[in-house]
Subunit: 208 residues, 2 copies
DNA sequence: CGCTATTTTAAACAACTGTTTGAATTTGGT
DNA sequence: ACCAAATTCAAACAGTTGTTTAAAATAGCG
């Protein structure tokens, strides 16, 4: 295992758990059992390390996600909104093959990125991976053409919020659910719960 | 203006903008134009200051919110889910009377509190203001009795996520919306957009 | 081997963190 | 006006932060 990967592996765990601001380089290097200076040697700075952690997941996720969404767009029949959101399931759960607890870790990181560090990560993702966003809005438009661009803008951001926020606190929520309802829940179970919710939200009647 | 309030006013602005971890006491005291040591003198610690900032809003919000929700519960006719969520509008917008940009600031703080500092603020709110949560779930149960406790648990947390996440990045979203759609938007406009969304999400058909 | 380039290491850096101290100042009551 | 309590203040505290340095170790290759 290379030093670079040791750092990435340790960093993503701590970032997901305590946020980017809340994690120090010393915590990362001691969990990864590498020297402190290795971070700056291999990545240049903490900010670049954050980008590298996210890129490792995005490079795995985005091709699968884009092809799943564009398949919906170029199909003859009109997809339902549930189809559109279900297109996320396979690419997201595939991150579990890529890495242990990959799905949950990635979604937690995404949640952190939206609130930590004044949104520089949002800028990074939208500029570096614009294809995901355009394919997604295209697919939603095909499923629900009556929705104006402005209404879609809001509802898609509401959806981002629901997903990202839920996942960034998914560990705590899963704990509570298991105590209160005595039911085994995992990240896939949460995803299956959230899809009807966001699909219905986006499909809400237009209020003019 | 008392020193205590100068600190609270400066702190809430910076906390909302940069998060609790991301804001130092020195930034707060220099924005508030008070001495650094005043924070520890008046509040004891940074953690207590965070609680005080949140309490000032919660004490203003929670009685109005609880009475609006319990009014729904004790009314004879069954409320719709839209009624339940609309019950939030007046108490939330009232925070703008209480303080300039109060609504948006409070909701941003709430968003910060859920992700920053490993959820200690969530613990604080649920233990210090349990009435809001119980009244809310009661009202939703009256509007949608078929929803099991577990499904309601998830959907209410999805809703929290939608609201809190949207509001914590509402400044950025409002900026984008005004550029892209050339339309004046404010926090009340966002609230009116989000209510049909969350109401439809909670009302989604049960998927068994 | 011998040499170069890459990588690792311990140590130090300056800047910043929340908190404490003790003296100076202001305030409110008599 | 006096005294005591409450408040403000500059300074320092000890600890942590990201980053840099220069020497030591390792690796790769002819």
């Amino acid at each position: 295992m290379s030093t670079k990967n040791k750092i990435l592996d340790a960093a993503e765990i701590l970032f997901a758990d305590k946020g980017f601001n809340g994690t120090s380089l010393r915590e990362i290097t001691s969990l990864g059992e590498v020297n402190l200076a290795a971070v700056n040697y291999h990545f240049g700075s903490k900010k670049e390390l954050i980008k590298a952690v996210m890129s490792r997941y995005m490079n795995e996720l985005s091709p699968r996600l884009e092809s799943a969404l564009s398949a919906l767009c170029h199909h003859d029949v009109q997809p339902s909104l549930k189809d559109v959101f279900s297109a996320f399931i396979e690419p997201l759960l595939h991150l579990n093959e890529f890495k242990e607890n990959g799905t949950s870790t990635f979604l937690q990181l995404l949640g952190r990125g939206y609130t930590d560090s004044q949104g520089f990560l949002r800028w990074f993702l939208t500029t570096q991976y614009p294809g995901v966003f355009t394919h997604f809005t295209e697919a939603v438009h095909k499923a629900y053409p009556e929705l104006s661009a402005e209404e879609m803008f809001w509802r898609l951001h509401f959806t981002m919020g629901t997903i990202v926020f839920t996942m960034s606190s998914s560990d705590a929520l899963i704990d509570i659910a298991q105590n209160d309802f005595d039911r085994q829940v995992d990240i896939a179970g949460v995803i299956k719960q959230v899809i009807p919710y966001v699909a219905a939200g986006v499909a809400a009647p237009i209020n003019r």
